[in-house]
């Protein structure tokens, strides 16, 4: 045991480190989603990945669905994978199972049409998943330095406290983790709009800054192509009630969670592998669940989610830690809150002291402590779609 900051995790055959050891039950298509949920409910550490896609998709939209599911099959928080196919869909079960195998994970496939219907597919799937779960019982946690972590930085249900307390506290943690050699990922391109100059100035290469600005320009032009004011959704009605006036104001507050010093080292597509240390920006929408789904797909093992108004969002495979700087929310949404940093605004705690507590909480959660979202069974999952269903 070292005095360096670290956690007890799972070493994976591909060299990555997990903080959970799930048996992942993946439906190739919406048609097999219910069967995956029935299988997962019967298996210790089993989690299903129900989604609404997998067929009726073309081109890049289909590719994004496939790539996101494959990324979850390879994810270090997953110990073993069972793919549940219908049998006639576009997403190919064998390719998902192969993604898991390439990462060194045991995997198997059950087909609903192949087994002859729902009850038989559930029975077969439960038997296979139980075997996979027994295989994982032998795995033990071992110590790793914090530099093995990819931390997803998220905010949602923001109010004026987010930019003043919770996001600056998370930003200090992000800077510390990156300085240790770890990695952080920031999504939600629309919520960088108005603060992009601050991130672009931290880019390690002009080319990285250029990619950031191009992604933001694309999202802004999408709102313009619709002929609509982005204020219809950004800031959200709740944000506006909470005192946030424009997307620029929201973005400047939101971007605090990415720290003040960490270098911007990469800009990646939705759910694409986060391969560089330091800060990566991922091209995700602002919708909380689609954003978290993408950042975890990119390899983040843990999410810190700051909130002003309170929100329940979790993830099927990654722990999501909720922190708030709003003293009232810490009380009214106590069941959904892991850490209260409202002392920053009442001047009873410094931002650095809040950051110390948050870093310690992240390491405890990575070593197995359950978050409120995990205790409450929040496993929201939604794959971003680029095009309408055909």
């Amino acid at each position: 045991m070292s005095t360096r900051p670290g956690f007890e995790g799972y070493r994976r055959p591909d060299g990555r480190v997990g903080v959970r050891n799930h048996v992942l039950i993946v439906p190739t298509v919406v048609c097999s989603a219910v069967v995956t949920e029935r299988i997962a409910a019967a298996v210790p550490n089993g989690v299903a990945l129900p989604h609404l896609a997998g067929c009726g998709q073309l081109g890049p939209d289909m590719q994004m669905t496939h790539d996101t599911l494959a990324a979850y099959c390879r994810h270090p928080n997953v110990g073993a994978v069972l793919v549940v196919a219908l049998g006639c869909e576009q997403v190919v079960a064998q390719m998902l199972a192969e993604s898991a195998r390439q990462a060194g994970k045991p995997s198997a496939i059950v087909s609903i049409q192949g087994e002859g219907g729902t009850p038989k597919a559930i029975a077969k799937g439960q038997a296979i998943a139980a075997d996979l779960a027994r295989g994982l019982e032998r795995d033990t946690r071992e110590w790793f330095g914090a530099e093995e972590l990819i931390l997803s930085l998220k905010c949602g249900g923001s109010d004026y406290t987010s930019g003043l307390a919770a996001n600056p506290a998370l930003g200090r943690v992000a800077d510390r983790l990156n300085a240790l050699g770890g990695a952080t990922v920031l999504g939600e391109i629309a919520e960088i709009m108005g603060a992009e100059h601050l991130l672009a100035a931290r880019a390690t290469q002009p080319e990285v800054a250029g990619r950031l600005l191009r992604v933001i320009q694309r999202v802004e032009s999408e709102a313009q192509a619709l002929g609509l004011d982005i204020r219809g959704t950004q800031p959200s009605p709740g944000n506006i009630r909470g005192g946030l006036t424009t997307i620029e104001e929201k973005s400047l507050g939101a971007t605090h969670k990415a720290g003040e010093e960490s270098p911007l080292t990469d800009v990646v597509p939705y759910a694409a592998r986060i391969a560089r240390r330091g800060l990566t920006v991922m091209d995700t929408p602002g919708l909380d669940v689609e954003s978290v789904t993408g950042m975890v797909g990119g390899g983040a093992q843990v999410v810190v989610f700051t909130t002003g108004l309170g929100t329940p969002t979790g993830n099927p495979i990654a722990p999501v830690i909720k922190i708030t700087g709003n003293a009232r929310t810490a009380q009214t949404m106590a069941d959904n809150t892991d850490l209260d940093v409202s002392g920053i605004l009442s001047h009873t705690e410094t931002i650095d002291a809040s950051a110390d507590r948050l870093f310690a909480e992240i390491l405890a959660v990575c070593s197995g402590k359950l978050t409120s979202a995990e205790r409450l069974g929040h496993r929201e999952f939604a794959i971003h779609r680029r095009n309408p269903t055909i």
Partner: protein, 96 residues
């Protein structure tokens, strides 16, 4: 604890940390400002007059443009500030 927080010295608005009542004079980072209208906690108050077309500055960066003259002590929000970003409802920049 101060009634408002001014985040950077460049800002021309402050954020209320408690409900502000009309007529009250508050200390905003060393500047005395008389509250012109009731302002909810979390909402913004102008620290100086911001003329129509002027930038509203918070976190040291512009967060939007005043669409009418905003007097010192006034509530600063969607009724008197417009965003310059993602405005597909406006004619394209540079268009006639």
């Amino acid at each position: 604890m101060s009634a408002v927080i001014v985040i950077t010295p460049r800002d021309n608005v402050a954020t209320a940390l408690e409900p502000l009542t009309t007529g009250r004079t508050i200390d905003a980072g060393g500047v005395a400002v008389t509250v012109r209208e009731s302002i909810a906690s979390g909402h913004k108050i102008a620290l100086q007059r911001i003329p129509a077309g002027g930038a509203v500055v918070k976190y040291g960066s512009p967060i939007g443009t005043a669409i009418i003259d905003i007097e010192a002590g006034a509530h600063v929000h969607t009724h008197n500030v417009a965003s310059g970003r993602g405005r597909g409802d406006l004619p394209a920049r540079g268009a006639p």
